[in-house]
Symmetry: C2
Subunit: 116 residues, 2 copies
């Protein structure tokens, strides 16, 4: 069995320094939260500014949207503040937008061949 070591370049560029198990888990959790079209759509709408839950309810149930926002909140992708009876959600930071756009770019790039 074992017999195909390649070991090409020991690139010391782009150093992340051995991600720990915890780091991997956190990062995976972050990606997992991003891994749903409905949640991505929410994030996208939040790019235009903060919104309260009621504003974000489309055809979905309120509790559904609330749960999605909760997921994004747990992943630190959004923050929220209360104003009167409303809870306003907002993107956590510009970082998120970048991740988002990078991913869309990558996703498009890699699927050009297969036509849209």
């Amino acid at each position: 069995m074992e017999a195909c070591n390649q070991d090409e370049h020991h690139s010391p560029q782009s150093v992340v320094a051995e991600p720990s198990v915890q780091q991997l888990e956190r990062t995976a959790a972050l990606f997992k939260a991003l891994g749903d079209p409905a949640r991505l759509a929410l994030l996208y709408r939040l790019r235009q500014g903060e919104r309260c839950v009621g504003d974000l309810v489309g055809d979905d149930k309120l509790s559904t949207v609330s749960a999605r926002l909760q997921t994004l909140l747990n992943a630190n992708l959004v923050t929220r503040r209360r104003d009167a009876r409303h809870l306003y959600y907002q993107l956590a930071d510009q970082h998120v937008v970048e991740l988002f756009e990078n991913a869309i770019a990558h996703a498009n790039e890699k699927t050009l061949i297969q036509g849209d």
Copy 2:
């Protein structure tokens, strides 16, 4: 009910131009594939160069690792080439590394408070 439009800044910066449903789905699929510690660990190991499946089997079953690689392949995160009986997997592009590192950075940044 409906009554809390905010509409802050119509930021024309960072333009992704209305992601279509398909784009959202693809992007979500990409993130979903990244949303697992074991798969991230595989990607991390592939940063050092291409590896065949046998080399990547740790304590896990071969079929398990193969399935993970398949998931990454479907998401266009890795490519593979055949050499004799071995299939060598490789990161699809530098894009992937960037996404990965951005995410780790974000994940760390956002959890500093809670101690490691």
